[in-house]
């Protein structure tokens, strides 16, 4: 199992090196063992460097940069070990438009090997979905499914 872990670590690190610059439009990231001499117990560090920036400690990244870096790590894992399905609840909320576009482009890759169930308020993410489910709460506070036509969709306006 030790050999398997180290090989997974290397593979995910390789994918991260590909995925991170796509999401961040540049920059780099890598995985590193906290203590190389104890491969069986050591924790794993994620080192990220957004484009044009010095390697800052993770806490100094912005809200949007943290979310995007986390997605890069998760996508790198999904590409090595595709999961039958992935569920994401408003992961795109902190992202600006340019980062949302890059995120959506990568989703198109991931969806080839996994089904994706996504809760979102973002119109561009809705546009790339194969199926759109609208959920509303009627006057008696019971959730119901409504069909949504993207042309006239205004989040928050579906009063029942």
């Amino acid at each position: 199992s030790r050999r398997r872990f180290l090989s997974t670590l290397t593979q995910v690190d390789e994918q991260l090196k590909k995925v991170f610059p796509i999401l961040f439009n540049g920059g780099s990231a890598r995985l590193r063992l906290v203590d190389e001499s104890l491969p069986l117990e050591s924790g794993v560090l994620v080192e990220v460097q957004p484009p044009g920036k010095r390697l800052v400690h993770m806490g100094l990244l912005s809200g949007g940069e943290k979310a995007l870096a986390a997605m890069a790590l998760l996508f790198a894992i999904y590409l090595i070990k595709p999961s039958p399905f992935i569920v994401m609840d408003e992961v795109d909320a902190p992202l600006d438009e340019a980062n949302t576009d890059r995120f959506n482009n990568l989703l198109q890759e991931i969806k080839k090997s996994s089904q994706i169930i996504m809760v979102t308020h973002n119109r561009k993410t809705m546009e790339i979905a194969e199926r759109l489910y609208g959920i509303v709460m009627n006057k008696t506070s019971v959730s119901k499914i409504v069909s949504v036509d993207l042309k006239d969709y205004q989040p928050g306006s579906e009063e029942m």
Partner: protein
Amino acid sequence: MRTKNLSLRGFKSFMDKSSFQIPPGISAFVGPNGCGKSNVVDAIRWVMGEQSPKQLRGRQMEDVIFSGAGSLKPLGMAEVTLTLEDTEELYGTSEVSVTRRLYRSNESEYLINNSPCRLKDIQDLFMGTGLGNRSYSIIAQGEIGSIIEQKPEETRRLLEEAA
């Protein structure tokens, strides 16, 4: 193996039976604040065998049963069914449906293809799909920002699950 359908009845705000076909690709759930989108995410986590009420944003497991609203009375049971297809290798049949029920009496029921089974059978089934106890296949609302700040031991655990 693919997910085919998710159906909820009496689970949180879904009092009546609600059913979602899940095609290949992306299924997006949209709607105003408080309408029940994250409850769908909780339903998926629950039917896969989740045992912690806190992971389902409740205090006790009974919080998942429709608690009534306005003139509507609370229900006595919550039920979620997840149907998978192309499962010959996994289970010998072309389709497998996994059902979980909870009664107000706190009694639980687990079923595979409509016949009663144990929680362990459901957990084993999902282990085989590669889903297993993968904590990173379901990302809850607000969780994405904290993944990068988690301790190195937690990042290691994430990688071990994928190994």
